[in-house]
């Protein structure tokens, strides 16, 4: 006995990879804008925010001065023309190093801005029909609406601002923000379906809304600010890395600043020991332009130039998944998550639990039970309730048989764990079997062992059993069938390998919960959970020093979403849930939390890989520059690359240093390919690829550049 799925709930259609954000992101002209922006970012007030690049920027300024006047800081050993040419080349290469770093950041920012522009195009001012206190309608501009105002929206109208449906029923096209073309049914009174977003369009009927946000503070406004990076602040890992880069830069600054004194001392010693002018090569090695080149080659310019681009790209990747993160901190936290707290319904299972079978007990027939089920579900607007009504009707039960005029609906609550209908002095109830047993006993009825057998039978199938009764007589058990989402077991296996524990929370009984948990492959489960259990399990995990991620959509999820390190709210959820969470999923697909963990880990791995690569590069650059400029000290043998001259070695190392930044931009933006490995395995892999690779690659590249350069 199958029933059709309810039309009121929408699930994202098609495979996730095939889904796109509907407001088309126009990325044409992105690189032209980025080039323009990279010149704007040369403003010292902007460069000063990136310590490594600020040092390069200052170095460029000083080398420019010594290009204009080569003997500005002291006598030179070479001819003026030759020295000026070398200084000029160094200035040019340093300038491009800063420019390429700015370009990387500008490209990453440009992608976010393109997305913000697409969103901005959906946010046009509209005329709203404001309901005045006397009930009359006044047409006002949507920007004049304030929180608490009431407006009427008719089919075809753009919804003027974020709000809550207080009257009416209608389908809304939310594709402007979610990318889903399927309309969503909106109606008052339900936690999920009553919130509407400004900029979306009402397709049918009429709605009365209560505005929930002031102008400029709506959901789309906040999304624009976030994707544009207006509210971007440094994440803890970025802060730690900034400190590391500043320390490295300071150490190399001190080293390079003390080189002239040591060089002069050794030059004087060589003059005395081996004859006059022998130490001159040492003196030329400590010219200001060469010292600045040495400093720039040694400081971690690659990661310094790409650091902000990696962070912005991480946010962008999350946005491409139709998820809006309130901060980079939230995205990073995803990568560090140890525990995932997942709801069973909708996250692990398909969520559209439908009545599959009525199992009568106490000698009742399926037909008589169907009538009671229909009566108990008259006011139940949930998909489960509607599926029960449909199944009952397919079994021949009709409303006419009941004579339900003047019936009163009893709403479901977490405390009673049942819902139903009262009419003609009779009480029809359906709900958790324990709750129904308690209800029947309170009315003087008896509970037969057949009920427990039916209950266990349904639970062992992984279904949800719902007890049904009329007054003190139990009629049977409804089998609500739910299906574990395909491919989840493999995903949970991957998470386990990465050291992420999964906990499933469900209001179902222990038997059902254990069957589903085993089938889905979660590590732990909590059955018969109340909303309070969610926050308890998060606190318990956090007290063990773990980072916890969870999803939620209802108002009762808000405290847990706020407590979790990563709280992912569904866009279809209530305003309270969205405000408490640090991420909002526009597709309202709770399974996406698993993808977010992957993206967060990818962000951290990318940053770690490029830092390793950048620091490893120093070894080759050191071997390129030091042996050639101080060859007179007898360390020429260390010139293992056989570079032709000191000038060629310096310029080759600097050109490599500059070119590696744009070469790594695609990797910084796309991220290192994610593999579900443990932290140790990832570290080993990173060291092997980006550490050893970072040592070898510049040796080859610098040698090639040296061979191409016409500097003797």
């Amino acid at each position: 006995m199958k029933t059709d799925s309810s039309p009121s709930l929408r699930s994202p259609s098609g495979p996730r990879d095939a889904r796109k954000h509907t407001p088309k992101v126009d990325r044409s002209g992105l690189y032209q804008r980025a080039i323009r922006e990279s010149f704007v970012k040369l403003d010292p007030r902007i460069v000063v925010r990136n310590p490594v690049m600020f040092v390069v920027w200052l170095g460029t300024l000083v080398t420019l001065l010594v290009t204009i006047n080569p003997s500005l800081f002291g006598p030179i050993q070479e001819s003026i023309g030759k020295q000026r040419l070398l200084n000029g080349i160094i200035t040019l290469v340093l300038f491009f190093t800063v420019l390429f770093a700015n370009f990387a950041e500008a490209v990453a920012e440009g992608r976010g801005k393109a997305q913000a522009d697409a969103l901005r195009s959906t946010r046009s001012d509209t005329v709203a029909r404001k309901i005045l206190p006397d009930g009359s309608i006044q047409e006002v501009n949507s920007t004049e609406l304030r929180r608490g105002d009431q407006v009427r929206v008719v089919a075809g109208d753009m919804i003027p601002a974020d709000g809550e449906v207080i009257q009416g029923l209608g389908s809304v096209d939310e594709s402007a923000i979610t990318g889903e073309s399927a309309p969503v049914l909106k109606q008052p009174g339900t936690d999920i379906a009553s919130s509407v977003t400004g900029g979306t369009r009402l397709l049918s009927d009429e709605l009365t809304l209560r505005i929930t946000s002031d102008p400029g503070q709506g959901f789309i406004d906040r999304m624009i600010a976030l994707v544009e990076g207006a509210e971007r602040s440094k994440t803890p890992n970025e802060i730690a890395l900034t400190v590391l880069l500043a320390v490295l830069t300071l150490v190399f600054l001190i080293v390079v600043a003390t080189v002239p004194s040591i060089a002069h001392y050794i030059a004087g010693f060589l003059d005395t020991a081996l004859g006059p002018d022998v130490g001159n090569t040492f003196r030329s090695g400590s010219s200001i332009a060469i010292l600045i080149s040495l400093l720039v080659a040694l400081i971690p310019t690659t990661i310094g130039g790409l650091l902000s681009a990696i962070g912005i790209a991480g946010m962008d990747r999350v946005a491409q998944f139709n998820v809006i993160a309130t901060s980079g901190r939230a995205v990073e936290a995803c990568g560090d998550v140890n525990t995932l707290v997942l709801d069973k319904t909708g996250t692990i299972t398909l969520g559209n639990r439908l009545a599959d079978e009525f199992i009568p007990v106490n000698g009742h027939t399926v037909e008589s039970m169907a009538k009671v089920c229909l009566a108990a579900s008259l006011f139940d607007e949930t998909p489960e309730g509607r599926s029960i009504v449909q199944l009952a009707q397919s079994l021949g039960a009709t409303l006419d048989d009941l004579g339900a005029n003047g019936a009163e609906g009893i709403e479901f609550s977490a405390r009673t764990r049942m819902s139903g209908t009262d009419f003609n002095g009779q009480e029809y109830r359906k709900g958790a079997v324990d709750a129904i047993k308690g209800f029947v006993r309170s009315r003087g009825g008896q509970v037969s062992p057949a009920l427990d057998q039916a209950y266990e039978g349904v639970s062992r199938l992984g279904g949800t059993p719902l007890g049904v009764c009329k007054d003190n007589d139990i009629y049977g058990v409804i089998y609500l069938k739910d299906i574990v989402k395909p491919g989840l077991k493999e995903r949970f296996d991957q998470l386990r390998r990465m050291g992420v524990k999964t906990i499933m929370l469900t209001g179902d009984n222990r038997i059902t919960a254990s069957v589903i948990a085993r089938e889905a492959g979660v590590d732990d489960f909590i059955a018969e959970a109340t909303p309070e259990d969610k926050i308890d399990v998060i606190r318990r995990e956090q007290s063990q020093g773990k980072l916890v991620a969870m999803t939620g959509d209802g108002t009762n999820d808000a405290p847990a979403l706020a407590q979790a390190n990563v709280g992912l709210a569904m866009n279809s959820g209530t305003q309270a849930a969205k405000e408490a969470a640090n991420m909002v999923d526009l597709d309202s697909d709770p399974t996406k939390l698993i993808d977010l963990v992957t993206i967060g880990k990818q962000l951290l791995i990318t940053r770690g890989a490029l830092t390793t690569f950048s620091v490893a590069n120093d070894i080759a650059k050191y071997f390129a520059i030091i042996p050639t400029i101080f060859a007179a000290a007898g360390i020429g043998a260390l010139n293992i690359m056989g570079l032709r001259s000191a000038q060629s070695a310096i310029v080759s190392a600097l050109i490599y240093n500059a070119l590696i930044i744009p070469a790594l931009i695609p990797l910084a933006l796309k991220g290192v390919q994610f593999r579900p490995l443990t932290a140790d395995q990832l570290l080993q892999r990173n060291i092997l690829i980006y550490g050893v690779g970072g040592v070898i690659a510049p040796f080859i590249a610098i040698k090639l550049i040296d061979m191409i350069l016409p500097l003797a």
Partner: protein, 93 residues
């Protein structure tokens, strides 16, 4: 015919007050805009450093070279202070 000249005392007072006003304006601008103040202080401090560099270099450097090198040294120290600042308040960068 009697020519009336402004009283010398009054003229001096006006000139002094104008100068004081200008100094006060420069001072208030200097407090508001930090970079020119730091540059000015560096140039002043270089009046002490440059002769020391010149003296230490023997006859190798000319006076302008010593002055430029002194300023470069001060710039390097300032850069080191900036990097220390980044290390202690990284969230501002």
């Amino acid at each position: 015919m009697k020519i009336n000249h402004p009283k010398p005392t009054l003229f001096l007072t006006q000139s002094t007050s104008q100068t004081l006003e200008t100094v006060a304006e420069i001072w208030s601008e200097g407090r508001r805009q930090k970079l020119p103040r730091y540059l000015f202080l560096a140039l002043c401090f270089n009046l002490v450093v440059a002769p020391m560099v010149y003296a230490a270099s023997g006859s190798e450097l000319s006076r302008p070279q010593a002055w430029a090198l002194g300023l470069l040294g001060l710039g390097t120290v300032a850069l080191a202070i900036y990097l220390f600042f980044v290390m202690f308040v990284p969230e501002r960068f």
